[in-house]
Amino acid sequence: MAHPSQLGFQDAASPVMEELLHFHDHALMIVFLISTLVLYIIVAMVSTKLTNMYILDSQEIEIIWTVLPAIILILIALPSLRILYLMDEINNPHLSVKAIGHQWYWSYEYTDYQEIAFDSYMIPTQDLAPGQFRLLEVDHRMVVPTEAPVRVLVTAEDVLHSWAVPALGVKMDAVPGRLNQTAFIASRPGVFYGQCSEICGANHSFMPIVVEAVPLMYFQDWSTLMLEDA
């Protein structure tokens, strides 16, 4: 989850997020190198007493500073397109979950076999137990099995919302009357937090998303429990 003074992304919990992390490292390194070069050149130009009045044109350097940026752009574009198409691969999910946005909570439905449905409200700050995270915890988490492709169908009952979990590399808008599909694989067990990512009224900042990934056996126990409680 997010940490205070965090600079980078949260640790990846899905293969897609790992790829995005590595790509970001790659692109950012290129940006740092170019920025360092440019800053160096600026400082060098500004801090000399010499003046240059006699160079008019130079074919060689013009070629270099046209071709080199083109090569750099290709080096950025190729991994980027690779990930774009990777995210678009056909996947055969093991589980479908519906995430429905309301003002101001999410509700989740698991209806592949029987009907499990529940609301997920933020835990108010005054009701937090010691060690729990302010504005992030919910009363009922969305539980999924690890290592299983999960399809999430996102929609909304009233206004626009957006279902996002950064650690899983997932964000999908919740549009009333529309069913948007996204998918992820939770590579490791854990609890992953996200927040509503589309302005939706007074309590937009207070309808978080919590995904709890557990081994399949525990997921089965949880779903049995949820059916009994219903």
């Binding site: 999910p93 439905e109 009907e115 399809r151 599909q181």
Partner: protein
């Protein structure tokens, strides 16, 4: 043929990838399977045939359609105000 459908329904995990709806927007996928279930039921029961094959469509729409939508459509069918052609 019936056995193939039966085993498909028995081994059902969740709605499989449907190449008619390859993109992010699955609204039509949900609605189409709902329509297909009711049309299948209507067609097969009007010929007094077994309606078990229609259960596939029901499993799929139950997997992917929000229950609020399904309840609203069911009510519409019951009181004759459903907008789709069944």
């Amino acid at each position: 043929m019936a056995e193939a459908i039966d085993s498909k329904i028995k081994n059902y995990k969740t709605a499989p990838f449907d190449s008619r709806f390859p993109n992010t927007n699955q609204t039509r996928n949900c609605f189409q399977n709902y329509l297909d279930y009711h049309r299948c039921n209507k067609a097969l029961s009007s010929k007094d045939m077994d309606t078990t094959p229609c259960d596939w469509y029901q499993r799929v729409y139950k997997s992917i359609c929000p229950s609020g939508w399904v309840n609203g459509w069911d009510e519409g069918i019951d009181n004759g105000s459903f907008a789709g052609r069944v």
